[in-house]
Amino acid sequence: MLFNSYVFLFGFLPAVITIFYLIQKLNFDKKYIILWLIFSSLFFYGWWNPPYLILLISSVVINYFFGQLLNRQKSSIILILSISFNLVLLGYFKYFNFFLENAAYFFDTSFNFANIILPLAISFFTFQQIIYLLDSAKGLTAKYKFHEYALFVTFFPQLIAGPIVNHKNIMPQINDASFGCFKVENLAVGISIFFIGLFKKVVIADTLSGYVGPVLDANEVGIQLTYIESWLGMIAYSFQLYFDFSGYSDMAVGLARIFGIILPVNFWSPFRSRNIAEFWRKWHITLSDFIKNYLFFPVSMKFTRIAMYKRLNSVSTFGLTVFIPMLYAWGLAGLWHGAAWNFIIFGLMHGFYLIIYQLWSQTSKPKIQSKIFSFLGNGLSIALTYLCVVFSWVFFRTNSVESALSLSKTMIGFYGITLPESFKAFIPSFLSENNFIQYGSALQNGLLTSNPENLIYILFACSFIIFYMPNIFEYFKFHHNTTERMDHESKIKIYWGHNIFSALVISILATLAIMHLQGESEFLYYQF
């Protein structure tokens, strides 16, 4: 079931909330509230493909059993066995065909591909449960009750596409005596956050999708885009991806809040980042935390130990402690996004970006850095970071390495740069002397010509929201407590409150969102 569907908004959600409050009104045990939420979450998951419920349920049961075993008996064999169980499931459902495809290419033969449908959410609940297993081996999860654990994994707001939640963060909230008590504040804040997320998804992201689709799909089938088309397409896609995915995360945060659960922050105005490391501290935060803590740190720590004990020179130290662990962690992070070479390249590009950033921040003196920053200003560093990200998303959006390369080349100007005649006055004439820049129809494929100027207005409006409006956690600062607090107070300081103005804003956004619900457009991150 999708958050942006009539059946969810007008059937499922009201029913779940009503019965959730009814159970405590009638003074039933808290256990029944938890059971009701588990049942609802399984129904939510099974709506899409009932047979895969068996996969989800058995994964929860088996992992809980393994975890409790590990609490009692710290055995590395059980730990390896239990983690392998998760990785084998993920490997089969997500990577088996990719493996066959590459093996067939390598051995120059062909295999029969298995008809595997990727189970929704498997990438997310696999990660969450591996963290649980690792902590169980340290005896940290011995007190977890089965029904509480089952709710932690299946809880529908975060089940399908994150945020990737940590048991240490969620289990105490479920176990807390106040969980399940009716609070008007939870309902009001939760629904408000949810509708802002829904607005971002169905009004902004889905509108952009109408422009992005024709352009980038044309590139996919081999139509040569113009320079301007390729850039407009990719900029629009970058905004679409942001509003789509952060909108989804907002909806998840809002829904969880209705039931009194605070989910972790997943986005914190990422496009305002001044360098790539900051970008990953603000974009899909729960994923980058996982990559850092469970992929990068263990390897880098081992290598740093070696480098420091053996007193290696600075080049070998950098290679061993940064270069190798970074490419390893980000190559895997790319592969996590999907079973295709495109995603691996996407991950490796970010690995390289981060290596370059580290090289720069380690070799240059802080004083020189601050001088360069004050010279360039935040604007240019933000623009540079954004450009790097957009370039990497070419590999994220296209379906094959070939179409990604052709789009990248178009964007760099390999196939010439054609600008509209009106630009002529602003561009130095020597650039057009050897036909490097030509003037003419910049949108000659007609892919955007239905109303290209509308797209420009929309992109400006999006930029305004991205750079000036407070993010969801800033807007709800006084009513939604998260442990994480980051810098970058937005220039426009408005806050949600129990007043007519906030009610009006949310009602308008909600109405627009519901009016825009047309068909059911999937979330971009569902495929992962």
Binding site: D135, M301, T304, R305, M308, S361
Partner: protein
Amino acid sequence: MSSKVISQIQPIFQQVFNNSEISLSRETTAQDVEGWDSLNHIRLIISLEMELGITFDSNEVAELTNVGDLIDYIESQINQ
């Protein structure tokens, strides 16, 4: 106990972050020390390992981003 550990780790901080003016308290966090990012965090952890003769668990170092938690962890390791 805490103050003893602080006086032991302060010079290590000064060396790793290349700043002799760093003065630590239990409340110091990663935001307060310039350059305390993920990579320098690892360098800090391994330097602490070398100087104090303890080992850190790779899954737990990510959470030790303030001096108070670091001291508690170090003390639990020394007492073991």
